[in-house]
Symmetry: D2
């Protein structure tokens, strides 16, 4: 249903948040339930190819979750399947597994963007350009410092995303599961052990959403600045593979920067839903069921925004002569720009 | 990429906002350009089966729009294709065509929900129940009046959705297209003629998004109230096909009401993006490109929310005895509840 | 608590949404209750100067509404006061009265902005400038057409705001009030008669919020374009009273345009709350009580955004020579720009 | 302009985010500039009582910032005042000082809420109640475990809020300030030293906003659950000082819980603005100027929500008999509820 998804999101990330990926993750969660409880559920019962996620979604409509028909199908073949789990245990755990896989892809794009920003900061530490406040020329700065500012924001976003905890969920129908069982379950999957079941306490989801929003904001900022510096009248940067226009083939559109911004807006909208709370008592009647599409979208578009920022930065053409020309009347005093670039690069090296 | 979409959205509506539907709509827009300009573009150039929307999205990434590769493909076969249009003309017009088709499906679900609400209002105009404010019992009301309140909100949302204008877009690269040509183009498609090209003035999109949000709010309200009245301790309604639980087969979950609420939240998140403005000069560099997935999602989830509210209401079991019991201590004075139900039903009949 | 409010909002509008204005409106609603029911409540009981809204807010905390202590104070002096009303009747009606007053001020600012946009469209119908898409020069247009596009968006926003219904609320504790009494009450106040009490069906609030958001979007768009055209490197417009900088007195900041954008963001955030629904049964336990500050803010910032757009446009310096220079390489074919300006101006004259 | 602010926000917090508090903070920032640069600016020039923040806001409208008139006034009395700072340095630093003071008040309310939740968890570790999923009775749990879940969410929100970095800002007009000077400046104020100036990289603001949103979500969840458990038909808890109704004096409204939810919604709306990014180049033309009211509101309502949750929990009446009665048919197996409560309490003690 996401329109033109290949336009925004790299293929591996599309797969990582696809319905098939959710199905695989749900089955992985079911397998871990069986292992943690020692229940006899043969691996062949848990093969994704035996289940049809579209059909499960369709059947799941009557239950407001695809796990009810899934658990029924599993139990038909292995009565011990699903064990003491409740459907939310499977779905929340699957969400964290999907998030873990997707996160690693988002981080790879972010790292590419950071490396490109760092290279620009390094290469242009002495490239004077106009500082612009309220889009008016203010005082001179360097393009290296602009790139360093992007870099620091990308690093910060990375840190938040890495720090987001991804806990397992195994609380059972009323959230009263023995924590030792939950710990075994979490360990099967390599997920964190939560203090308590978090069926209706969505801190982990909200933290993750906030981190993805930070990724979008950092990448969208790169996109915004590139778009502004690439304006015809400014002409200080251009993208290597500038996009064409259907009616004006000569035009040089900073297409990657534009997509970084578009994706950032889409992350923000979905993150806003994921941080809105309002989960009733021990399982929400609506707020929880709204999370799945929003989480997939937030992950995908965060990665889309990072990939686009990376593409924009990796191929960025910097027109230093135009920068010098534009900044001509401002004098050449760039203050401590060099020292600041060094600070940012030192920070970058530390976190690697 | 939308997770579990069959869980939320009826099949016809999923198709109506699918990438294939967007492709068909884009080709319809291209055909109307050819007809309005009298350009020789044979119909067989414009067959959806000759184009692959996934590939166009992929190629379109370099241009931040799938129309650049589409127009190129069309011109390769018919040099006059695409004519004086700009890519945004095709996409905005396609968006309105997609919206028109999807809207008729949303309205059908809304009408079903309204009919069900009207029937409940009629049937239960004398069924006394507790009025509840801040979720505390207050004074008596009737279930008919509760249903009548749903009905009025559904009618209002319908009116807003019907009133949303769906204008054609044919402004050309800088929005300076001859309005007579635009009028011919609009007439080919049965869309409204805009006062001016609206490339960066997104009133039409925002109005539509607001109307879809109103649909979500009205249907989500039905869901919320059903969930509350269906609580174990309240027990005043239940859904005919109450959903089960993977761990507690005896449970009677109001699954449709829950999904109505989930969809409403998803509409709201996407509508918020579509009303946020910030479109630069003659075509936005990011805000516009973010609209396509958000518009599809807003349409789909609005319909999902209406379909779920309809399903919930059509099969709603009303436990009048339980209502009477719960309201026992409040006395039986329901004021003008009957007259109010009549007002609502009269209003309903008028708009039909 | 709104920081630096005089920076954003004109004084009359600040007063129109002040706590004092809410108090006056609540007392007006109480007076109309008395009149509609024929209850003996002397006018001197309802004098604003006898009540302290800060104290009522403080006392109201224990009840989650300031109307409980207000009604108590009124009844101490006139036992018939407050009559059959419930606290939400008073507050919702007061909200509509506050909205009505504030709306007229917002409309006045909007009208000023529209008049200024119309004058620019008229004066510059032949002033050639570069059309810019994705912030790249595309094809020529005229500044008159840019101004005409602002004008049409301002007119549309005006229409939505004027169309927003402002119904009275008099439902009593459970929303079962005799509609004839409600009609008398509404007529006392010159407000619309609702089909049903709308205690938990917030269509009227959401419609109003959507209209205010449209005002913000239209005015924020003016701000965005002015900021972009005023860039040092573009230099095509400047504000008459450009703002200075604390560190660079020579700088010419388009301060009004900047504030129009800031206000638009603040409207959008508050409108998003007001359209989010989730009002339980016959009176919400949280969603309703969140509306008051959000409604005041949405009204005030919508007006702030209109006032700022107006200020920006009324004093806009248009540098036609610079426009010509920037557009030099694009040729001079501005298509049907003149005809389009005429369409917009005709539309403007019609709605006056 | 915030309507009925005493209803929502405790008096000390209202003061902490008042315009007067912002003025004091701006002057503190100016003092630190003088000290860090060794400029001769006598303390008496920086007395809040000599400046009128309402007038500065009014005058500031022409500059889109109150710092321009403030700096002018200071320089008139001490020419060295304001030194190498730019207006954003003063305002951003003031924002962090305001946030620091307000945060300590929010934390105090949060700590009160946590202590109350911990006491309830302890006292009710064996109080059986129905677990409720999708608002249907599911399996038994204990009220102690419900309170423990609130506690863990409050602790998590606290951690995020404490972790939010509050950096000084001293970048000068183009963000090229010597980092050693910035470090001296930060040290004068006890704020963090940022890697780079963050004029247009709003990570610190977004992180803080996200943390405040987490506070709102945790406290709003308490409110939601209390409202649900206090329903007439559930009757398992009530607030000590339940609010009355203007029309039904016998009613027992959980007013504090309601306000916790209302405040949470208001935090969320403002946080959404503060995390939206889109800050152009070296200082934003709109997005930055929108932050001040949103930040004050997010801080105030986060504290309001914590204060209300605290009030609700501190006086919570737990009706264990009613809990037992409601849960009667579910059997008494509460699984590992006790062990889970212990985990939560251990976690609580650790963080103290």
């Amino acid at each position: 249903m996401t329109t033109f998804e290949a336009l925004y999101v790299p293929a591996p990330l599309r797969e990582a948040v696809s319905d098939q990926a959710w199905l695989v993750a749900m089955l992985e969660a079911e397998r871990a339930v069986a292992r943690a409880t020692g229940a006899p559920v043969p691996d062949e019962v848990l093969r994704p190819e035996d289940h049809d996620i579209a059909a499960l979604s369709e059947e799941g409509r009557a239950h407001a979750t695809p796990v009810v028909p899934l658990a029924r199908a599993l139990r038909a073949r292995a009565p011990a399947a699903h064990g003491p789990a409740t459907s939310q245990d499977i779905l929340d755990t699957a969400a964290m597994l999907v998030a873990r896989n997707a996160r690693s892809l988002v981080l790879a794009e972010l790292d590419g963007a950071s490396a490109a920003a760092a290279a620009l900061a390094e290469a242009h530490r002495s490239t004077v350009m106009a500082g612009r406040t309220l889009l008016q020329q203010a005082r001179p700065t360097t393009f290296g410092l602009r790139a360093a500012a992007w870099l620091v924001a990308l690093i910060e976003a990375r840190r938040r995303l890495v720090d987001a905890r991804l806990p397992a969920q195994l609380g059972g129908p009323a959230g009263t599961m023995d924590p030792e069982l939950t710990a075994r379950f979490a360990s099967e999957l390599g997920l964190e052990v939560p203090t308590l079941p978090w069926h209706a306490d969505r801190g982990p989801v909200a933290d993750l959403a906030g981190a993805l929003d930070a990724v979008g904001a950092a990448c969208g900022k790169v996109g915004l600045d590139v778009v502004l510096l690439a304006q015809s009248e400014v002409g200080e940067v251009s993208e290597a593979e500038s996009g064409g226009s259907s009616s004006m083939p000569h035009k040089q559109n900073p297409a990657a920067a534009v997509l970084a911004r578009a994706c950032a807006r889409l992350v923000h909208a979905n993150a806003s839903l994921l941080t809105a709370g309002d989960h009733e008592l021990d399982r929400a009647a609506g707020a929880w069921q709204a999370e799945w599409p929003a989480l997939s979208a937030a992950l995908a578009f965060a990665g889309g925004s990072a990939a686009a920022a990376r593409r924009s930065l990796e191929g960025l053409q910097v027109h230093a002569d135009r920068m010098a020309e534009n900044a001509h009347d401002l004098g050449g005093d760039v203050g401590a720009a060099k020292a600041l670039v060094d600070r940012a690069l030192a920070r970058y090296r530390e976190q690697q």
